[in-house]
């Protein structure tokens, strides 16, 4: 028979000595092996360290062990027969609790005093059947390591009234489906009801404040701190990380404080040691201080991406080349619309009987663009185009601040020219995923709104977009094979230009290359938050 004596890492001289004495008396019938803290005896049966102690535990008939929890649990799990001897030579006397645990459950024999260990005690223990140790295994790992489903808060501009922003949000949700992404407006305002034609009331006092960018932005900052910051701090504990994007978010102009809103939200999460990532955002323009906010977002984010080359250039020009490697260019997610909403494709191009027109009033816009736009001329061009192609125009609205009003004006002009009522199509949030329903039988679209262009192109309706902003050209370059065919340089939809480009599109065939879309999709999928 074999008996192992094990004392762990703390010396337990009295036990080793006692069993050594007994071993001499029992020599012949029982072999003893000693694992001691330090080499105390040069005898062959003494080891200070045993490589594979588990194997040894199994090969012996009985283990006389100190009261160390690690040894006892391992032995009990292996169903070894044990005698527990609490080490009272230690400063802390907690081994007695372990001994009590074994004694009360009758998992093994216990020698509370060294003198209890005798040859007869050892023989008796060898012949006793003890209770089987039933372990309730540890079940809190998921809680400890956060393996529970993670929740990611995504903030972007959603309270606005632009279908483009909503489309971005929906596409991101689709890309990261089942990853617990929850989308909220970046100022936590409730979504406005689309389709309601807002009337822009002129307010002299408000306009006066708005004309001073610094003052207006300062007031907005106070407003944010008073309202949204508190709400954001309140919902922050529900989420594991923050996702900022996409769309044009990192700017402050015309009294829009998206940059500050992103900055404060990121700060709230960062303070709680939670990660935040910036996803395919547009950067600029700025009319107020912005360096501090931008630097924070770039340097502290776990992943920082902008949607085009121009945005990157702008950040580099502000922060220097220090972050050149960190800033990734990640194209707008709406480009992937055709992959994300596979059912939403237009197959009825053959029977097409109308074309869409979308316009923004750039003269009234606060963007300060020096563009020779003339809505009456635009309406005239559309009328001529419809006569030339012999199909009717329909007006399409995808944003609801001033667009319905602008389109209304164009409609009036058109109605006068043609003598019948033109239709205005309102595209809302509900149409994302089933755009073909509203754009059925549409041959092509002339657009100002970039995302209407992307969406229409995605479902197979060629869309010519007027490049009133640099971003339109930048984004077109990212996904269209021959982008120059899809961009218009005349703000009034010049008949000659439009018909030339339509002809070129007809000749060149498909709009975008599938491998480009695959690449962009992979880029998104490889992001680790």
């Amino acid at each position: 028979m074999k008996v192992l004596v094990t004392v762990g890492t703390t010396p337990f001289k009295s036990l080793v000595e006692r069993v050594s004495e007994i071993s001499i008396a029992m020599a012949g019938s029982v072999d003893f092996i000693f694992q001691t803290a330090e080499k105390e005896n040069n005898d062959k049966s003494h080891y200070s360290f045993i490589d594979n102690i588990a194997k040894l535990y199994k090969s012996v008939d009985l283990v006389i062990t100190h009261g160390g929890a690690g040894s006892i649990y391992s032995l009990l799990e292996m169903r070894a027969k044990i005698i527990v001897v609490p080490n009272m030579e230690r400063n802390d006397k907690h081994q007695i609790e372990m001994a009590d645990f074994v004694a009360t459950n009758n998992y093994g024999a216990v020698a509370y005093s060294i003198n209890d260990i005798t040859s007869s005690f050892i023989l008796k223990s060898l012949n006793t059947e003890f209770n089987e140790f039933k372990k309730k295994s540890f079940f809190m790992r998921d809680v400890i390591f956060g393996k529970e489903k993670k929740k990611i808060l995504k903030i972007s501009a959603l309270s606005g009234v632009n279908v483009g922003d909503v489309a971005i949000s929906h596409c991101i949700e689709r890309i990261f489906a089942n990853q617990g992404v929850v989308s909220l407006d970046l100022r936590l305002r409730k979504k406005q009801v689309f389709n309601s034609v807002s009337s822009s009331k002129e307010n002299y006092f408000l306009n006066l404040i708005k004309s001073n960018h610094y003052l207006y932005n300062f007031l907005l900052k106070i407003n944010y701190k008073l309202s949204t910051k508190r709400e954001m701090s309140k919902i922050e504990p529900e989420y594991d990380s923050l996702l900022i994007g996409g769309g044009n978010l990192l700017f402050n102009k015309n009294g829009i404080d998206f940059l500050d809103a992103c900055y404060f939200a990121a700060k709230i999460f960062s303070k709680k040691s939670k990660k935040f990532a910036v996803l395919s955002v547009g950067v600029g323009p700025f009319s107020c201080p912005h360096k501090k906010q931008l630097e924070f977002l770039v340097s502290k984010s776990s992943f920082f991406s902008v949607r085009d080359e121009n945005s990157k250039k702008l950040i580099v020009s502000i922060l220097g080349t220090k972050y050149n490697n960190k800033i990734v260019i990640l194209p707008d997610p709406v480009i992937l619309y055709s992959m994300l909403y596979k059912d939403d494709t237009n197959n009825q191009n053959v029977n097409s009987n109308w074309f869409g027109v979308n316009a923004i009033d750039l003269i009234k816009s606060p963007q300060d663009l020096k563009i020779k736009q003339n809505l009456e001329l635009l309406a005239n061009n559309i009328f001529n185009l419809s006569k030339h192609l012999n199909i009717r125009p329909k007006l399409i609205s995808t944003a609801y601040n001033n667009d319905p009003e602008t389109l209304g004006k164009i409609k009036t002009f058109l109605d006068k020219l043609s003598g019948f009522q033109h239709e205005i199509i309102y595209i809302t949030e509900d149409d994302i995923g089933k755009l073909t329903d509203k754009l059925c039988k549409c041959r092509f679209i002339l657009s100002y709104r970039m995302h209407l262009g992307i969406l229409a192109n995605s479902i197979g309706i060629p869309s010519l977009t007027y490049k009133w902003q640099q971003k339109i050209e930048g984004v077109a370059n990212q996904y269209i094979q021959k982008p120059e065919n899809f961009l218009l340089s005349n703000p009034n939809f010049d008949v000659v230009e439009v018909s030339n480009k339509l002809k070129m599109i007809n000749d060149s065939g498909c709009i975008s290359d599938l491998s480009i879309l695959d690449n962009i999709y992979d880029q998104y999928k490889n992001i680790k938050f």
């Binding site: 703390t10 907690h94 372990m98 009590d100 645990f101 540890f138 809190m140 390591f145 303070k271």
Partner: protein, 153 residues
């Protein structure tokens, strides 16, 4: 990054069992007071000064080692984004938990498995510092009312 605090002997065994066959997306940093204490599936380890020997406590050396430990641990938190601190019960976890509190990082303490009816010194302190206090024996809930029973490692 997750910090796991485990010294030697039983605390190390518990840490080993905690991390066994666990796949984590995050880096794991092992803070220990014993250079021989090795955990297998961790990214890196930091060795700090032990607070006491097994044979006794030297007040002066304890004080200096506590001070130098604070500096070491602080620099770890400053350099890395620590998501949580997990302790399996050694005394050094108190210093780590205090720094973690400064950084508002979540602290999870698993009370050592060798206690059934009494509180360990570390347990007493960590009960107040830890955000989640886990005990491995139901009998300890009587001593730590807010603790959660988590089963035996």
């Amino acid at each position: 990054m997750i910090i796991i605090v485990a010294g030697e002997g039983g605390h190390l065994t518990q840490a080993k069992r905690l991390l066994m066959s666990l796949e984590l997306d995050e880096d794991v940093l092992h803070i220990t007071d014993n250079c021989h204490a090795v955990l297998n599936n961790v990214t890196d380890s930091v060795i700090i000064e032990p607070l006491r020997g097994k044979y006794g406590v030297n007040v002066l050396s304890s004080f200096t080692s506590i001070f130098s430990n604070f500096i070491t641990i602080y620099s770890v938190f400053k350099k890395n984004l620590v998501s949580r601190v997990v302790s399996t019960g050694p005394g050094i976890s108190i210093s780590v938990a205090i720094i973690a509190k400064l950084f508002k990082t979540e602290v999870i303490h698993i009370e050592t498995w060798s206690r059934f009816k009494s509180k360990s010194i570390t347990g007493r302190v960590m009960y107040f510092l830890a955000d989640i206090f886990i005990v491995q024996h139901k009998s300890l809930i009587a001593l730590y009312p807010k603790a959660k029973y988590g089963g035996l490692l």
